[in-house]
Amino acid sequence: MTPSVRTPSPAGVMTLLLGAMLVAVGCVTINIYFPAAAAEKAADRIIDGVWQLPNGQGGQAPADGDKQ
């Protein structure tokens, strides 16, 4: 091994820089991207409250419900 190992090669620095930039760009993209799954979870929580549905109830709603 030569002492030059200590200083990263220009290519190495470039790779790292590029990686950091990609991650940064990815973050911006993800933060702007609409979090569909989280929104659905939030909607479910709110709808269950407004309609007084038992927690965690999925699509099929109270089929043979109490009211009617």
Binding site: P8, V13, L16, L17, G19, A20, V23, A24, G26, C27, I30, N31, I32, Y33, F34, P35, A36, A37, A38, A39, E40, K41, A42, A43, D44, R45, I46, I47, D48, G49, V50, W51, Q52, L53, Q57, G58, G59, A61, P62, A63, D64, G65, K67, Q68
Partner: protein, 136 residues
Amino acid sequence: MRTLLVGALLLGAAGHGRAQGNLEIDTPAIAALRAAMQQRHQQIAAHYDAGAVGLTADGLVAIRDAGQVPLSQRGRLSALVAAENRDREALYREIARANGHPEWREQVQATFAQRWIDKARRGWWVQRPDKGWAQR
């Protein structure tokens, strides 16, 4: 230099994690809207049952068959529907805003539209994407 870059990478990764959590829905404005809608539901539910009011494809409610309601009560029904839609619009707007992205409002609304319909009680009327009504 290298430490700095690795630090930046780690920070970036942490940022990613945040985006996958829950949406913020615990603000005073949203809580007030939820409470108002929950209270109103006790009056509006009978109209869903009767088919007078249906759930629209865009996350609101609409009078589907006013004939189900006596003439003398139709003004009240309209007011009820209007108030519900005002709160729903405000709810979608507030959720988007509470999460720092007012521009998400339409997507929040579309998400709710689907979930209201998915969770609708059997017998309630829901609007299809082509605007026609279908009974659950």
